[in-house]
């Protein structure tokens, strides 16, 4: 694991969970049920649901092991899709602009910035209408593990042209791989992920998540041209996918881009090579997640 990968692996987000007040027993002040967590960017929100419910379950009207109601998070009335890594959800839903972050949020060393999320419960039908994959709270760990394995199968297929590398993992390998995420063990994670990721990938597994003008999550087809790999940059991809947002590699020529490329909370230089971008910034499910941050008038 190189320096960049190590720093990204350690990236975290401060999260404050507030329980929907309608779910609390009468007389329980909502302030009593606040849960503050520092969560790794490279992890899943639902992994902390058992901890949240352990701390707040006694204040809730509902039985949290109920099969009828599904836990879900929302941010400013927008559903938070638990099947994506925490980092990309935070970057996209808050419209994070790293250049503005320090000036806006860290005015003093004594201040801490946190992402405030509300935890609620909904029926399976409501989940579906809001685009949330339903899962039972007492089986949240298994649900996300199963989803994560499917993500790796897809990533493996895109990278290699087939899923044989991950399909040849034993159950023990899969368990060790998953434990490396739960235990935050970068060495174990890299050992196993390197068995899947080839030196000369066929294609790159990339997800672009944008919230404006509407929520849109896309999987662009990114073919690596091994005969001319120096040609493909972040700008090449962005220009192809969003020709109206990205006009130039830099803003020196008089026409201006209206969006920035953000990954793991960092603004990515448009001239960066796509393969280098993928290898350093990929997430723990084999995909590279990108969010778009739009320039404001003050920019």
């Amino acid at each position: 694991m190189n320096v960049i990968q190590n720093l990204l692996w350690q990236g975290s987000v401060n999260v404050q969970i507030i329980i929907d007040s309608e779910l609390l027993l009468p007389g329980v002040p909502w302030q009593e049920t606040i849960v503050n967590l520092r969560l790794p960017r490279n992890s899943y929100l639902i992994l902390c649901i058992p901890l949240i419910l352990k701390q707040t379950g006694k204040f809730l009207k509902l039985q949290f092991d109920s099969n009828t109601y599904i836990p879900w998070f929302e941010f400013e009335n927008v559903p938070v899709y638990w099947n994506y890594p925490i980092g990309i959800l935070f970057d996209t839903l808050t419209g994070l602009d790293p250049a503005q972050r320090d000036a806006k949020y860290f005015k003093s060393e004594d201040m801490i910035y946190y992402w405030k999320l509300q935890l609620g419960f909904c029926s399976i039908t409501d989940c579906n209408q809001n685009g949330i994959i339903p899962f039972q709270s007492h089986e949240s760990n298994q649900a996300i593990k199963k989803y994560w394995i499917h993500q790796w199968k897809q990533a493996c297929f895109i990278l290699n042209g087939n899923s044989k590398k991950i399909m040849s993992f034993s159950n023990n390998d899969i368990e060790l791989f998953w434990q490396s995420i739960l235990e935050r063990d970068p060495v174990k994670f890299m050992d196993l992920s390197n068995k899947i990721i080839p030196k000369r990938p066929h294609r790159l597994p990339i997800v672009i998540y944008q919230i404006l003008p509407t929520i849109c999550i896309s999987n662009p087809v990114v073919i690596i041209d091994n005969t001319n790999r120096n040609f493909q940059t972040v700008f090449d991809l962005m220009k192809r996918e969003f020709p109206n947002y990205f006009l130039n590699v830099n803003n020196d020529s008089g026409t201006y881009n209206i969006a920035k490329v953000i990954s793991n909370g960092i603004e990515i230089p448009l001239e960066m090579k796509l393969l280098e971008f993928y290898l350093n910034f990929k997430s723990m499910d084999g995909f590279l997640y990108i969010s778009l941050s739009f320039f404001t008038q003050s920019n």
């Binding site: 899709y81 099947n83 029926s123 399976i124 039908t125 989940c127 579906n128 209408q129 685009g131 949330i132 994959i133 339903p134 039972q136 089986e139 298994q142 199963k146 989803y147 499917h150 199968k153 897809q154 297929f157 895109i158 087939n162 899923s163 399909m167 597994p205 003008p213 509407t214 929520i215 849109c216 999550i217 999987n219 087809v221």
Partner: protein, 164 residues
């Protein structure tokens, strides 16, 4: 593997030759330029496992990732709402979906639950569907993509797995 152009061309062929007209238990079929949408009654072998199940809904779409047809499905069930005394149709989510769907003889398929945006329309929202993992599709179907690949795929993924 099949290209998007070939997939869309074979969709037209399926529509023209009425290949799905004889699908058993079928309530409705809609074939568009990009996908097939089907609603059927529930086959007996599934009702025998869960008598609340009411109907099956399918979408056959093209997977850009796998460059294969992809079968999405949802199972609808009918429940009585004890509070209001009315019946409600809801999606059935099953933690052991493979055991419910597959006959014991079919153990090479895996099912995932994921979000899909069915139309490439920026304004359409994602919805939740079960999908049959397509990573070994080419080996399972066999033969050349130009020779009724989609018909052969439908025969296995829709008719054989779901006994339709």
């Amino acid at each position: 593997m099949i290209s998007l152009e070939e997939f869309e061309s074979q969709l037209i062929q399926i529509n023209t030759n009425n290949y799905l007209q004889e699908l058993s238990l079928c309530q409705s079929i809609q074939i568009t330029q990009t996908r097939i949408h089907i609603i059927t009654d529930v086959p007996v072998h599934l009702v025998s496992k869960n008598d609340q199940l009411n109907s099956l809904e399918f979408n056959v779409i093209y997977s850009q990732i796998y460059q294969e047809p992809l079968l999405l499905f949802r199972i609808w069930k009918v429940e009585v709402d004890s509070e209001f005394g009315c019946t409600m149709k809801t999606i059935h989510i099953d933690n052991e979906i493979e055991k419910l769907i597959f006959p014991e003889t079919l153990d090479e398929f895996r099912i995932g639950l994921d979000l899909f945006q069915l139309d490439n329309d920026m304004t359409s929202s994602s919805s939740v569907w079960y999908n049959i993992h397509p990573c070994d599709t080419g080996d399972i179907i066999g033969g050349k993509v130009t020779e009724n690949y989609l018909e052969r795929w439908l025969n296995i993924y829709l008719k054989r797995i779901f006994s339709l």
